[in-house]
């Protein structure tokens, strides 16, 4: 579904990504782990179009995304749930969700999408008239996820949904992601710092370190590979 070859991104002269190649199959769940500064967020931004790649190609369902604007990419069914949630704090929960179905194809089914999302996140139904800014961090993350789903995407890009959340809430979030995947049969690309939790969810994973893919493999192989630790703690570990 998604094929990335030789992707290079640098901003203000900093090389964020160098020669990154990876693949995500239809219906697959792929996780990318790596330490802070590895380029994970940049990778997702390059796919959704909010940063421009200087080198390489991103093919989505066989078509090159290169020249497309972020809104065009969203129209093709790519939804990006950004790092740090980015909900619209002064809008209500319901309004936030409705903005998620801005995409033309999604607009028709807005009512049913809303119903599905609220079924998936009961807490959002409870809070639907509340301002998004007044939600807790975990609830905001649920809202961001829900907003992403409102677009009825085919490919969901998730950027560190666990960021800044307590352990119990993180567990809940990961459970929800797992459920979404099973119920919706979505293709998911997840980027995380929490190695074990994120790898356990996936079919396959990649390890990113200082902008390069240093390791790739199936879930169980990666979970047993001590080299993952090396990406975080260096050769001494």
């Amino acid at each position: 579904m998604l094929t990335i070859t030789g992707l290079g991104v640098s901003y203000e002269g900093l090389h964020a990504l160098t020669e990154v190649s990876l693949e995500v199959g239809e219906g697959e769940f792929v996780t990318i782990v790596g330490p802070n500064g590895a380029g994970k967020t940049t990778l997702l931004k390059a796919i959704s179009g909010s940063v421009t790649a200087q080198a390489g190609r991103i093919l989505y369902r066989g078509g090159d995304l290169g020249a497309l604007r972020p809104s065009d990419r969203a129209a093709l069914g790519i939804a990006h749930v950004p790092e740090g949630r980015r909900v619209f704090p002064s809008l209500t929960v319901r309004e936030n969700l409705e903005l998620g179905s801005y995409r033309r194809a999604a607009r028709a089914g807005r009512a049913s999408s809303l119903e599905e999302v609220l079924a998936l996140f009961p807490i959002l139904r409870e809070r639907h008239g509340q301002l998004a800014g007044s939600l807790s961090g975990g609830e905001q993350q649920m809202l961001a996820l829900g907003r992403g789903l409102m677009a009825r995407p085919d490919l969901l890009l998730l950027d560190e949904p666990s960021q800044g959340l307590g352990p119990r809430i993180v567990e809940q979030i990961f459970e929800t992601i797992d459920r979404i995947r099973r119920e919706r049969r979505l293709t998911i690309l997840l980027v995380e710092q929490r190695v074990v939790e994120a790898l356990e969810l996936c079919d396959r994973g990649y390890v990113l370190e200082t902008g390069r893919v240093v390791l790739a493999g199936a879930r169980d192989a990666l979970l047993a590979d001590a080299r993952v630790q090396r990406a975080y703690l260096g050769a001494g570990a």
């Binding site: 500064g37 979970l223 001590a226 975080y232 703690l233 260096g234």
Partner: protein, 599 residues
């Protein structure tokens, strides 16, 4: 080679003065060529508005503190001289001196509270002062003060009948302001002001006392504005009213002249005035009766065009075009690769002396405990790495160490003396330098000038600072880039330049915030070599990094932070094996998995 460069620099300096002399000579010639009274008036206005634009340019162009209330000094100049004539019969020539003194004092009184505000807030606050003066003048009953005729001593009272005299007087004011601007541009203050304009935090970290420099610039820009105000009243208005001298038209005319011509250079306001004043005067006299207010329309249109096509002003636009043409013609010289200094691990081994003590430092932001009770020592000549996962508090720690932030609890001692509560520039002068995560350059200064800003901490003379900057550039292997602008540099060169700028302050200890981030493998090797050579010179180094690999090659010791706490400290090999550290980076469950695998 070095002598040749110094000679070049001196020649460039001389060229500036020759150009000013040429402008003044041209002004004199014009004043004799022009015959009609009205044309003399236009000439006088060009000279006066150019001088006013230059005065504004000192605080807003060089120092970047946009003042929307600069007519306050213009008005003070006008009122003080006229009131002294009316009340005390004092000649405006003497009155002008008093006016300058009052304006400078006013600048200090306005500056003390207003420089607490940064950026646009400073500009907005300056709007208030002329309004206050208008109200005060009304209240004092000076709604309209006419200059009394002094037929017996017209020269002594600046009441010339010959219009050329006003041309020459205005030209003299312009010449003096040009000279003042030129002196500022080429002095230590000029470099420091431009550094503040381009990046105040970086300037502070390089030892520039930003408050003092801004205040100096404000005082220096108030003085010529007061003189212009005094002369303007005698040459053009003859009657002072609060609206005429403190009103918005005065500052808008000043802004138009400076913005159209270009700010941050003495040529800008000159070009702006030479262009805009005649155009608007001619329009006003030819079609002004049919289209009243045409002046304002033209000014508005000029500002819109400038913002669209030459946002930095005509001077910079033309200069850029000329440079681009020259660059196309010249073949870019091939650049030798940066040679990494020989790595000599044994050089400058750490001593036991504690250079920096961090004791129980805590700092929180709204709802977030960024640092809690962090303590550690930095020993002389060691390379200490500070590591930790995202959000561990590393950059906050640096901001506390170099004075950008004041901790709520705890203390930092540098060289045995308390260092908390001091400004970054004060700590820099005591020998504590730093670099930034994203290189903070002064983009309009050349690489050499960037580094000179650091050198001015130790040197007050420009040639001395230039020599120090050259040697700092040589130290990091960047000499061949001295005359380039930072915008064209690679990440490695930018980081090297920032390091050189920091070294030019002659620090005892440098704080390097992620100096290896974004570098290629070769770049990392070069940077590591340079950092080692810095230590070999006796400078202590503290580095923040999250790319652990490189730090393992570089650091003597590591301090690990996690969620604002000090988690571990020790030799690199030992720290990366520490289960607490592994947990912080990869989580508890990873630790359990690996332990289970090992059994």
């Amino acid at each position: 080679m070095r002598q040749a460069r110094e000679l070049d620099a001196r020649r460039a300096a001389a060229r500036g003065w020759v150009a000013i002399a040429a402008v003044v000579a041209a002004g004199v010639v014009l004043s004799f060529v022009v015959q009609e009274r009205y044309h003399h008036r236009v000439l006088t206005l060009v000279f006066l508005w150019a001088a006013m634009g230059l005065a504004w340019n000192i605080i807003s162009g060089y120092a970047g503190q946009i003042s929307f209330g600069h007519q306050v000094f213009f008005g003070i100049g006008a009122y003080v001289t006229v009131l002294l004539v009316v009340k005390a019969g004092l000649s405006p020539w003497i009155g002008m001196i008093a006016a300058v003194a009052v304006a400078v004092v006013a600048a200090v009184l306005i500056g003390i509270p207003t420089f607490r505000l940064a950026g646009i807030y400073f500009g907005l606050a300056t709007l208030a002062y002329p309004l206050i003066f208008r109200i005060v003048m009304d209240w004092l009953g000076y709604q309209e003060v006419a200059i009394p005729m002094k037929r017996e001593q017209p020269g002594w009272f600046m009441q010339f009948t010959e219009p050329r005299s006003f041309d020459l007087l205005a030209l003299a004011v312009l010449a003096a302001t040009l000279a003042l601007s030129r002196l500022i541009e080429t002095s230590r203050l000029g470099y420091q002001l431009r550094a503040i304009k381009e990046n105040e935090q970086a300037a502070e970290a390089m030892g520039v006392d930003s408050f003092r420099c801004k205040m100096a610039a404000y005082m220096l820009s108030a003085a010529p504005a007061a003189v212009v105000g005094a002369v303007y009243i005698h040459a053009i208005l003859f009657i002072v009213t609060p609206e005429a001298v403190f009103g918005l038209l005065v500052v808008s005319q000043t802004l138009v002249v400076a913005l159209v011509g270009g700010t941050g250079t003495l040529w800008g306001p000159l070009i702006g005035a030479a262009l805009m004043v005649p155009v608007s005067e001619i329009l006003d006299t030819t079609v002004g009766d049919r289209l009243p207010g045409i002046q304002g329309v033209v000014y508005g249109a000029a500002l819109m065009l400038i913002t669209l096509y030459a946002p930095e002003g005509l001077y910079w636009r033309v200069r850029q075009a000329i440079r681009a043409r020259a660059a196309r013609r010249g073949v870019e010289a091939a650049r030798p690769a940066v040679v990494a200094p020989a790595e000599d691990a044994a050089a400058g081994a750490p001593t036991d002396k504690v250079l920096l003590e961090v004791r129980g430092v805590s700092k929180s932001f709204i709802g977030l405990q960024a640092l809690s009770d962090v303590s550690f020592d930095v020993r002389e000549r060691e390379i200490l790495g500070v590591i930790g996962p995202n959000g561990a508090g590393k950059t906050t720690l640096f901001n506390v160490l170099n004075g950008f932030l004041v901790p709520e609890r705890g203390e930092v001692r540098f060289l045995g003396v308390a260092a908390t509560g001091f400004s970054p520039s004060a700590l820099c002068r005591r020998g504590l330098g730093r670099t930034f995560q994203v290189p903070r350059t002064f983009p309009h200064l050349t690489v050499l000038e960037n580094v000179m800003v650091g050198a001015f901490v130790r040197a007050s003379a420009v040639p001395v600072a230039r020599a120090m900057a050259r040697s700092a550039l040589a130290q990091v292997g960047l000499s061949d880039r001295a005359d380039a602008l930072p915008t064209g540099l690679t990440t490695l060169d930018l980081r090297l330049m920032e390091l050189a700028r920091c070294l030019a302050t002659a620090p005892r200890l440098v704080l390097l915030d992620e100096p290896l981030a974004g570098l290629s493998g070769d770049g990392i090797t070069v940077m590591i070599g340079v950092i080692r050579s810095v230590r070999a010179l006796g400078v202590t180094v503290v580095i923040i990094e999250h790319t652990m690999q490189a730090l393992l090659r570089l650091a003597d010791r590591l301090v690990v932070l996690d969620q604002g706490r000090r988690l571990a400290e020790g030799a690199p090999g030992q720290v990366t094996q520490d289960p607490v550290v592994i947990e912080a980076y990869l989580g508890k469950r990873w630790l359990a998995r690996m332990a289970a695998r090992r059994c």
